[in-house]
Symmetry: C2
Subunit: 102 residues, 2 copies
DNA sequence: TACGTATATGAACATATGCTCATATGTTAA
DNA sequence: TTAACATATGAGCATATGTTCATATACGTA
């Protein structure tokens, strides 16, 4: 806001936006979030669909949990995950439809 | 599309979406793109506004160029950069307004 | 031509990221 | 309690990323 008529982003804002984009910057997390955008899923279901190890999936779910992008509920020994940030899902869908409409 | 009624992303689609999000996953690139979303800028102007070294800015511009997210025109020895992907700018603005409207 | 300014680029380095492997934790059932 | 299953987690490793430093390239001017 100095020297020009234009504004520029604060470091805090840029960092926060970066946090959101970083969350979406990995193919595995994209696939997980896309799955969860359609249905609540158990960890084992995600593991089968993505054809990845249980550990790899669990680590990524941990990342998504820390970012508050997913939540879960327990049913017996099974954990059912679902998305927890509508806006991020919207952004994801927009980018996906952009890709398919090229 | 097998075993459930739901679809899941191909690796290629997830990778492509990841490429776009990765481009936006760094605060410096976010600041640069936000600046360019408002006005065409020379490298030296970007360098001053972001208070970064000329080299760091130039490297990031190189990254953005490879991703075809920015373009430039030459005027004498000065290069003026501008954005080259309307859709990515839209996504950026959406996330930024999401942050500010929390 | 030689010099100054604007920008790009390669190498090196520190940090971040995503996976694997081994193992821990929590739940159910016998 | 013990065994089996579902999931989480820590350590280690290979690769990716962002910056700095030094230098190269391109253009304008004297």
């Amino acid at each position: 806001m100095e020297r020009t008529d234009h504004s520029f982003l604060s470091q805090a804002t840029a960092d926060e936006a970066s946090r959101i984009f970083k969350a979406l910057a990995d193919p595995t997390r994209i696939k997980i979030l896309y799955l969860l955008s359609q249905e609540e899923c158990s960890v084992s279901h995600i593991t089968e669909v993505l054809e990845m190890t249980q550990s790899a999936v669990s680590h990524q779910l941990s990342t998504l949990r820390k970012l508050r992008l997913v939540k879960y509920r327990r049913e017996g020994s099974t954990l059912y995950y679902s998305y927890d940030d509508e806006h991020v899902i919207t952004i994801l869908h927009q980018v996906l439809s952009h890709i398919n409409c090229n």
